[in-house]
């Protein structure tokens, strides 16, 4: 077996509180990711985004990050130099955020932003960068790439904005993509298209994908494995196709509380949180 791309062992992240104590956001998460698609699911505050950020060392300095092992492709993230990390961030690891409205620079054209990303990690002149940007826009299936290249973010739709973000992340040819709620700001039909695009690109390029979302069925459709997080811990990890056979009451609760088109219910069951789930797992 080849070495996994990402190894996380017993990751703990604490944020300082106003009273001088620490608030545990991630409490002992262990996972390994190869060149596969891993979904991380949980409610807001479950620590799923923080786990992704810790891997890129993007957390605020005040945060206390500890782990027995936090390795990306042979690089020890906890002890790497800032220079090495800059090569990782946006270089070897791409990060796609929730809302393209906020993650794109509103005063730069799309072309300039993608070229900038390309030039930060590749050697080449302006013209080459522009060619590369055009090529990337074609890869994310934008119909009229020449026009989009010279437009500003407010002139494109949300779905197109997200495609542009993805194009930018692909510029340095990363080994892994972290997609943090990439489709929550989009409507259902665009959601499916964007996930299909990410799926195709990840498979074609043989990248690893960490898909962070609160939407369990959605994640299950696009990933190989799903890790379910609650209160900073992984409750269970299971193959995506076995999701409907999930046994943990938290996973079941998340699945049950969604309204379904195929099934009529007068009231939606709400999640009852068992205090036992908070106990530290070994």
């Amino acid at each position: 077996m080849t070495k996994p791309l990402v190894e996380i062992q017993n990751l703990r992240v604490d944020f300082p509180t106003a009273s001088g104590g620490y608030n545990a956001a991630v409490r002992g998460v262990s996972m390994a990711l190869g060149r596969e698609k891993l979904g991380i699911v949980g409610e807001s505050g479950s620590g799923k985004s923080v786990t992704g950020r810790a891997l890129m060392r993007l957390l605020p300095e005040a945060a206390r990050v500890r782990a027995d092992k936090l390795v990306f492709d042979g690089v020890d993230v906890l002890n790497a130099s800032e220079r090495t990390m800059r090569g990782l961030r946006g270089g070897r690891i791409g990060l796609i955020l929730q809302d393209p409205k906020y993650s794109l620079n509103p005063v730069m054209t799309v072309g300039a932003q993608i070229s900038e990303a390309w030039r930060a990690h590749n050697k080449g002149g302006k013209r080459e960068a522009r060619e590369a940007a055009l090529n990337l826009l074609e890869q994310v299936r934008i119909r009229d790439p020449r026009r989009v290249l010279d437009s500003y973010p407010h002139e494109v739709s949300g779905g197109m904005g997200q495609r542009i973000m993805i194009a930018m992340m692909l510029a340095p040819d990363p080994a892994m993509l972290i997609a943090d709620e990439p489709t929550s700001a989009l409507d259902a039909s665009v959601q499916a298209e964007i996930l299909k695009l990410i799926d195709d690109l990840v498979s074609a390029r043989g990248m690893g994908l960490m898909l962070i979302s609160h939407d369990l069925p959605l994640v299950a459709r696009f990933c190989d494995r799903v890790a379910v997080m609650y209160a900073g811990q992984v409750m269970e990890t299971l193959p995506a196709q076995d999701l409907h056979r999930a046994e943990h009451p938290y996973t079941r609760g998340l699945l049950d509380c969604m309204p379904h088109l195929s099934q009529k219910r007068a009231r939606l069951p709400v999640l009852t949180r068992d205090p036992k789930w908070l106990e530290q797992h070994s």
């Binding site: 505050g45 409507d187 609160h214 459709r221 609760g253 509380c257 969604m258 309204p259 088109l261 709400v270």
Partner: protein
Amino acid sequence: MTKAMIEAGKLNVHFGDNHVVHDVSFSVAAGETFGLVGESGSGKSTVLRCIAGLVDSWDGVLAVDGQQLGHKRDKAFFQRVQMVFQDPYGSLHPRQTVDRILSEPLAVHGIPDAETRITKALEEVALPRTARFRYPHQLSGGQRQRVAIARALIANPSVLLLDEPTSALDVSVQAEVLNLLADLRQARQLTCILVSHNLAVVGHLCRRLAVMQGGRIVEILTEDQLRAGQSNHAHTRDLIALSHELEG
């Protein structure tokens, strides 16, 4: 059939040269919850905002409770019709406490008894008493949306306009907010219009819904037709198929 609470006839909206809503007509009976679904840009939110009086460049007929609406609305209208927006973080004043946010509609409409009404409103949306003197950023997303609902209901409206009220929330919180909306509508006999791109959410709350595409209503369905997939329009069938696919 009960009398129509909200009526739209041949509603057209222009934004400059852009014709964004074409000849939209529907009527919503008193106590009914009507759904508007469609992709982004289909004009569903614009229709809602016309009714709320937030969009001015419309023509056609709009009526609430038998009274025709003009472009200028009086104060009584704004007491009777209230709206809940998608993003509770964007729709609550960041530097006002929940108490202040909830007293605003009372002050505007000259409703007495602020003290008891605010306590009752918080109770009604199941917010803890301690939330009253908090700021929006100190609350969770679900709690913030509860504040937005409380603010809409505190002036005692008869019509509630809901613009994607749960799409910014976690699925677990979405379930709580949907249950809350179902209870409140029952208890207060509210007439609602729910705008959403999520068919499952619309099917859960609405008995009837209109599907919009490119600024037109392409079809009006009942909940049962929606669930059974009985549709005459290709766009509706696409949306239904997609929704089933995403449910897995």
